[in-house]
Structures are given as C-alpha cells and as structure tokens.
Symmetry: C2
Subunit: 369 residues, 2 copies
C-alpha cells in the first residue's frame, strides 16, 4: 500500500570545522537542516539523496507536527511509493546559501553578531554538495545509492556525481541541465535586478527593517511564468477576467494577473531576497559541460536516468538530450526519458503529471547494478 | 536601385473634434505625429499604412535632419524597396497613449494644465485605429491599399480590417495574434508590476520629478528576453563572461547580463513608464478572436498575408496559424508564410532576417486584386 511517511521532524547538523569554499574562503560555522525518511540498512547501502529545487527546502515528505500540507515531494516518498521508504533511507538536506534553516546570508555572522547580508561569501553548487557530503560522512554512509532531484536539484545530483564519482551508484537529473543557457541566465538576472531595484533591498542590509517585498514579488512572478507552459496557463486561466477586479486602473484584470500577484506576495513571506541573489548566481555559474562532469573520475560504474518534460521551455529537453550525449560519449550507462506533460518546468512537482516520473524512477532504482 | 528615402520630417495633425473613445469617454484634444514617404497618386489609391510596434514611433524610414540612425523599418521602405516609395504613399502614425509625439499620459491635460498621468483615459487598439482614421480622412484617402506591421503593429493592422473592412484592400499582420494568450498577458503584467513597484512611479505622478527608471529598466530587460530566441542569445552571447566586470558581488558577470542592463538603461531615456502601462493594457485587452474580426463587415474583398517567425516564442506561429484558419473559415483570401529565422520575435525588425519578409511583402503587394 502506498502511504505517507507521517509526522516528520527536521534535524540539524553543525559541520565540525566549518566549510572551505571553492572560492578559497572559509565559512567558519555551517549548519545544515535535513530530514530523513525510512531506515538506513545495516551495510549502509540504501541511502537516497533527494535534492531540492531553487526555493525548496529539506521538508520533502510527510507532515510537520500541526501542519496540514505535506512536504514538496510527498507523492514520491513513502512506503510503497517510488522512493520506497521500506527499502530506502531517503535524505533531503537544505542547501547552504538558502534561508530554510541551513546557513545563508540571513544567518548570524559569528564575527559581527549580525546577519551576514552581502558579507556572506559567494557559494557554488560544488560548495552546497561539499557541505552535504560532510553530513553524509557523519551519517557513516560511504556510498550513496542514488542522488536525484528536479531543476537545481538535478544540477546538484549531477554535481554529486562529478565531485564524488566513486560514491554514487545512480543519478537522476530531472528537468535539469549541464549549464545554464544565456536565456536562463537572463531570466535570473531580471529577477536579481528587480530585487536590487527595490530601495528596501538597501544593498542587502534589510534584516530587521522593511523587506524588499516589491522587488522580490516581481522576481517571483517572472519565475512562475517560466515554470509553467503556454498550454498549462491556457488551461488554468485562459483569458478569464477576475470577478473582483479592483477600481484601480492598473489592478489585475485577468485571472492570470491575480494569480501571479498572489504567488508573488506569498513568496515574500517565505523566502529571503539575498538568498535569491546568491542561489541564482550559483546556478548561473554552474557548468559541467564538456569534460567537466568527468574530470574527477570515471562514471563508468554509475547509472544515469535523465528525465525531461516536453513542455518545459525553461530547461528545454534539448539540454537533457545534450547531457545524455555527453554521458554516452564517455561510455556511461545513461537512459533518456522525455515525459509528455503539459505543465512545463514544474511538472516534476505535480502529482498528476508525476505518475510517469514515479514509475520510471521506481523501476530504475529497483534494477540494482 | 534600392535607396533610402533621405531626410524626412515628422508632421503633426490635430484632430478637429477630439476623439470619442470606445469606453464612452472623450479625449478632447488629440494630436497625432506621423511621417509619409513617397507621393499620394491622383486617385488616392496607393496609400500603405505602416503600423509600429509597442515602443515604436512614426519614424519608420529615412533620417531626421542631423541624426545618424535611420527609421526603424528603413530597410523595408524606399525607392525600389519592398514598400516602394515610387509606387506607394507610405504613412506611419504614432499611436495615442504613447510618448512619441501623439497624445498620451505624458501630454498636458487641457483641463488642469498639467500632464495627464493616470487621469489619461484607458485607450484600446480600436481607439488608436479610430484616431488614425481621422488623419486618413483628412488626407482625403477613402481606401487604404494596405495596412501592415509587426507585433502590436500587426494587431493594429488587423484592427483596421475589423473596424473599416470596406476601406482596406490588403492586410499583412507580422508576428501578431488575434488575442494575447495568458502567457503574453503575464509577461506584460510582470513589466507593469516592476514599474509600479518603483517608489518613483508614485502612482503615475512623476513628471518633472525623479522618473521610475529602475522599474522601467527591469520591465524592458524582461521584454528583451522575450523578443529574442534561445538560439539568437546563444549566438550573440553564449556564456561569455564580461571583461570589465565590476567588483560588486551582484554586478553583471555574463555578457548577456551586461547587454540587458544596457538596453534597460537606454530605454528609460526614450520611453514613458505610464505609456508602458497604458499600451500593454490595450494589447492585453485586444481580442479579435471568434467572430469579432468579421463583426463589422465581410472581409471577402480583402487579401491577407500572415507572416510568422519559427523562433518567435512570444507570439508563436500557432497564433498566426489560428488567424489564417479563422480567415479561411470565412472564405477570406489569406496566405500563411512562416519564415525560418533564428531571431525570435524581433525578426521582423532585423534587416538580415527581413530579406524573406521583404520579398514576400513586395510580391504580395504587387499582385493587385
């Protein structure tokens, strides 16, 4: 029977010696928030590392006590589900640079006693993965059975394979890429400029003051357009006009406008503007193209399942196809699956669209090499 | 020989009785800025009405005295060019609601002696066309040989046919649509929100004060992404890093970021933020789908050439195909041409990409019905 994992509790891990970053700088104090579902088996060979997307968090499955909405990938994780917690020990760790519990620009800088803000050093997807590896070490896991995730989560899954090729058996990048195209960079840059154009951003120094809510909301509205598809927007909104449209001349008239404003305004309650800047920059600089995915070691013993969605125009399927081409040219065991979903980039998060994805992943993981 | 039209001068026409708007309101005083190229023939049958895109203006061809850059469609207009000024009397009129000389929100409200700002009434594409028709009347032209334009210009060309079906012989909508999809509305709404999020926008009341430059620049940056294609961005920028990148942590690192900032900052010098709001709203409300294109009269004597660009994802070719389908279902003479350009929505403005467009239009206009 397919069940939910029930009530879960986030845990915190403090890296004992801080983290040396790829830039050469050191983050002296690093906390990671993470959740686990299922049990680590005796030979510690059943760990599955789920990586969250850009604005996601460690709460991938189950319910926090007293909360009504489940984790962001709940339909994928649980007893009998694709990531079967009766077989796998599923781990999800919040990235550094974010604002969901792990150390980021809104954390207290131990040297000043105040939030880092822009004093926070630039971090890379490599740094995020290196921090996670310390926790995996701490859990006594030598080899991770699988890393997987969608969007930035997929890029992190690839980064794990690139940096620790001998520690990963399976990699499942979903709606991801080996590097951002200039268009993907451009969309991120407009988001960043919207945030920094807000006077309340104040050079990043806004903690305890007015937040750059307007700029962050605009950035998120744009993000939402790119996460959906033309078709899914047509289905969801068409050109329907709002019933309760405001008197104000430039208030939202169409439902799609009202929806985007609502999503933008909601987002500012749950996400930190500086984290938006740091993480999008990290994604833009991420680049495993050419030989870089294979630089630290052969992936000859690693299996890849690369999943793309037909209607995803932000991370178009040609990027996943290019990934598979690179892997094949290096004699890596790689399978490509393009799912015919209409929901655009967000498809991997949507249960109704995720049925095929769940099926593919379940079977891919079951076939132990 | 294909030549430029040389030095040109904009003209002004003041509507004698103001303009009754579709909303029922009246604009008491309306000025239209326009340019003409070539000569009106004796029977006044050779007028070609070129319509500009969203942020365009009446200066479609030739040079203003002392200026070095030619009009925005110069490669299309001139002796021997596609819109051959030895055959046609080409007219381009700036739309009302804009900020390029015709009456808009930055114009002086005769009732207050101050700029209208948000006191300016909402205008529609129908209003823009009705204002133009007054000028066409004034020029003594009963029947316009052709209306054409790209993007909003194409939508205005369609609106002309819808409102004055008996006055148009040929219509050439380029990279246009019968109505905006929710995605197109959504992109416009993010631009509007970026402008209104700028405190200097000040409820639209910023004339003579600090302008909402940051918000308007963000809106334009987003616009530019949607006007280009993935492929053209890849060709133009790839992932090249700027040579002169600033020390500042979130300064543009990639060339594409620097380019967008440059375009955004340039735009604020030449466009009014309130016009951005009014005109995008007019486009979003434009809707000639279903029977609406044919409501005022048969188009049985009008010929259509519908042009789309393969890489245009903002006004995707399926919208043009839908237009042709509607026309064919009403027994209208309509030809569809999809041009295989890589430059996205902006293709119609680019000379190198415009060669096919010029060729198609030249021949379509030559074949008099």
């Amino acid at each position: 029977m397919k069940k939910n994992v029930g009530i879960v509790e986030p845990k915190i891990f403090n890296l004992p010696d801080g983290l040396k970053l790829e830039s050469g700088k050191t983050l002296p104090s690093v906390a990671l928030v993470y959740e686990t579902y299922g049990k680590l088996n005796k030979d510690k060979s059943n760990a599955v590392l789920v990586m969250h997307a850009f604005t996601g968090d460690a709460h991938a499955a189950g319910y926090h006590k007293g909360e009504e909405s489940a984790g962001w990938w709940d339909f994928m994780i649980g007893p009998g589900r694709a990531l079967d917690t009766e077989k796998y020990f599923v781990i999800c760790i919040n990235v550094i640079g974010g604002c969901k519990g792990s150390t980021g620009p809104s954390s207290i800088n131990p040297q000043t006693g105040k939030p880092y803000a822009l004093e926070f050093p630039e971090v890379t997807l490599g740094d995020m993965v290196n921090a996670q590896a310390k926790l995996i070490d701490h859990l006594g896991i030598d080899k991770v059975y699988a890393t997987l995730g969608g969007s930035m989560g997929g890029m992190l899954a690839l980064e794990w394979a690139a940096v620790y090729p001998e520690r990963i058996e399976c990699v499942i990048p979903i709606a991801a890429t080996l590097k951002h195209s200039p268009q993907q960079i451009a969309f991120n840059e407009v988001g960043r400029q919207a945030i920094m154009a807000d006077p309340d951003w104040n050079g990043g120094d806004y903690y305890g003051k007015a937040l750059p809510e307007h700029g962050l909301a605009v950035a998120r509205m744009l993000g939402h357009i790119t996460y959906m598809s033309n078709v899914s927007m047509e289905k969801k909104f068409s050109r329907r006009v709002k019933e309760d449209s405001d008197e104000f001349k430039f208030a939202p008239d169409f439902e799609v406008e009202g929806y985007l404003q609502y999503r933008g305004q909601n987002f500012v309650k749950r996400f930190d503007a500086n984290s938006y800047l740091y993480i999008t920059k990290a994604m833009d600089f991420f680049d495993l193209s050419g030989e870089k995915l294979f630089a630290k070691g052969s992936l000859g013993r690693t299996r890849f399942l690369v999943i793309a969605f037909k209607s995803d125009w932000l991370y178009p399927s040609c990027q996943s196809q290019d990934m598979v081409r690179q892997l094949k040219m290096h004699y890596v065991d790689a399978t490509y699956c393009e799912i015919d979903s209409a929901y655009g980039h967000d498809s991997f998060l949507i249960e109704s669209e995720g049925a095929q994805q769940a099926h593919l992943i379940r079977h891919f993981l079951t076939k132990r090499s």
